[in-house]
Symmetry: C2
Subunit: 336 residues, 2 copies
């Protein structure tokens, strides 16, 4: 049987979730496609492991729980990647929106040496999407990133596949579950500070919540959608961003009187890349509550189509990686 040898860069929540999901679905993918996906390597910031014969996902999970994913100390991720044989990099290391972090170097290395890439790491994509997709094109490999926008909500594949006969004029969405949780709690009368505190207590918001509540995370997703769905060559600095910190209880109450709620909306079109709090009519598809993500795709023939789902979570995001993996395996089968 043909094989697709994977390396996982970053073995935190999402990396572990993916190992778990691959353990559950690897055999059925092999049966249905004739290609067996197999983990041959993994590393985090401290250690690495490689075995050309394949690694049991459960061993990796056990190792990680014991403190170290591998027994080889990691000096440099790129050097490690260049020393081993593999077909596809799953890049899920921590995101860095200022420099792209090690993830950006891992991606350049993988694509540049003719390996496919699946990532959910938003920083490198929001800074260097166009450079990375050029490298992928030049090396005839695929770069996929469904989980980077909307977690388990398949917005990118929806636009690329199911809506491929449509002309898409814009995508508008709630792309950050933390902000949506806070705004939904404010709908119930809570002031911003208290809603934020609750989000932190429930683990939805970080102790430094600025990445979410200042709209930066949503802006990264706007950039990824703009590049992938609209083929706009842009980066994070091209997005006009306002967050939700200035929203008062009074504003939420006034909106509610008119049957509106306030939601942090990312908007992407050829004319506009914007993140801002907006009034949304209650009952409108974009008026969802809680930590859900939702996106409305405006098409010329079918009109507006909305999709919603869990925007984050270990298995949810891992399932997006799995769908990218399936797509790459299928297209590799078709092209042979």
């Amino acid at each position: 049987m043909k094989r697709m040898d994977l390396v996982i860069a970053g073995f935190g929540t999402v990396g572990q979730g993916f190992a778990e999901v691959l353990d559950m679905r690897g055999k059925s993918i092999a049966l249905s496609t004739g290609v067996e996906p197999r983990i041959v390597g993994a590393f985090d910031s401290k250690s690495a492991i490689y075995d050309e014969e394949g690694l049991d996902p459960n061993l990796l999970l056990y190792n990680k729980a014991s403190g170290k994913v591998g027994n080889e100390p990691l000096v440099d991720g790129v050097a490690f990647l260049e020393s081993i044989d593999y077909d596809l990099l799953v890049e899920v290391s921590p995101t860095n929106i200022v420099t792209g972090g090690p993830g950006l170097h891992h991606m350049r290395s993988a694509l540049g040496s003719g390996k496919h890439l699946i990532t959910v790491n938003k920083g490198p994509l929001a800074l260097a999407f166009s450079e990375l997709s050029s490298i992928a094109r030049e090396n005839c490999v695929e770069m996929r990133y469904e989980g980077s926008v909307g977690g388990g909500m398949p917005i990118i594949n929806l636009c690329r596949e199911s809506l491929s006969g449509q002309e898409i004029s814009s995508v508008m969405g709630i792309l950050n579950g933390t902000c949506n949780f806070i705004l939904s709690r404010m709908d119930s009368g809570l002031p911003f500070e208290q809603a934020l505190k609750e989000a932190q207590e429930l683990g939805y918001a970080e102790s430094d919540p600025s990445y979410d509540i200042d709209g930066i995370d949503t802006a990264c997703k706007v950039v990824i959608l703009a590049n992938s769905v609209f083929e706009i060559d842009c980066n994070i600095h091209d997005v006009d961003v306002s967050g939700i910190t200035a929203i008062t209880e009074e504003a939420v109450a006034m909106a509610a009187e008119q049957n509106y709620c306030i939601r942090l909306i990312g908007e992407v079109s050829k004319e506009r890349l914007e993140v801002s709090p907006r009034l949304v009519l209650k009952g409108h598809p974009l008026s969802v509550g809680g930590t859900l993500n939702v996106a409305q795709v405006n098409t010329d023939l079918a009109g507006p189509i909305s999709i919603s789902g869990r925007g984050a979570g270990r298995l949810e995001t891992a399932s997006a990686i799995l769908s990218d993996l399936l797509a790459i395996i299928r297209s590799s089968v078709n092209n042979k």
Copy 2:
């Protein structure tokens, strides 16, 4: 350039919409896939037209507006189909939920003679899905029907493609825009009879509205989802159906007091095929108003994913046919 020769059976609203959409997108499909889709034949209940060199969609639309789609009187659709050369049947004749109508015969003829089939005609699918897909399989051709459920809302392709790595436990949805319009108007305090009358005045409901309000249309869609997404061999008689005619203003008001609305929900799972009015919490993805359709797909890894869009309409439904056509062309290219 390779060609894909199409025949359109039924030249009403959807057939005309498809001719219009193909006129708009035919060239770009040819450019992007290397296969030119071309209408070579069309017929309605009265007349037919065929030209192996291809027919201008605008000529067909002009003919139809002048009273006759073709200059050849139609005696029998199947005899016509058997007398001509083509690759793919677009079956969009009026639906018949009791016998399957002529549409069922057209479909058997096309698939049986090795032609691909795209249809939005629910009757034949709700009565004989399993028979038709067997004929398709035996003849190595594709049968696609995205527009038969949810019009422009791509629920079937979402399940088949974007969610292909997921195990789907159930699909629940609002699959009939007429009922949803009536129930949404009842949310504003209108009694059922008045909301129905308004729907009829606006053209959302037929003068005999029973097919919609008794839940039959939704039940057809439940059958199509059950067969296609869950591979359950079932037909319309296997669905437990209640409509919306018994819903009172008082019931709607009582639901609203508890922050719920009433919606007609079709549910499909291995255990249950059901159409019934249900309480839906306001703000839940299934609580959309107006003529929208919405479906929630419950998956094991990504949790619930919802999609909504316009459930009917000339261009909306035609765009679903277009997406099926693109999928068939792409897979025919990959298999050669």
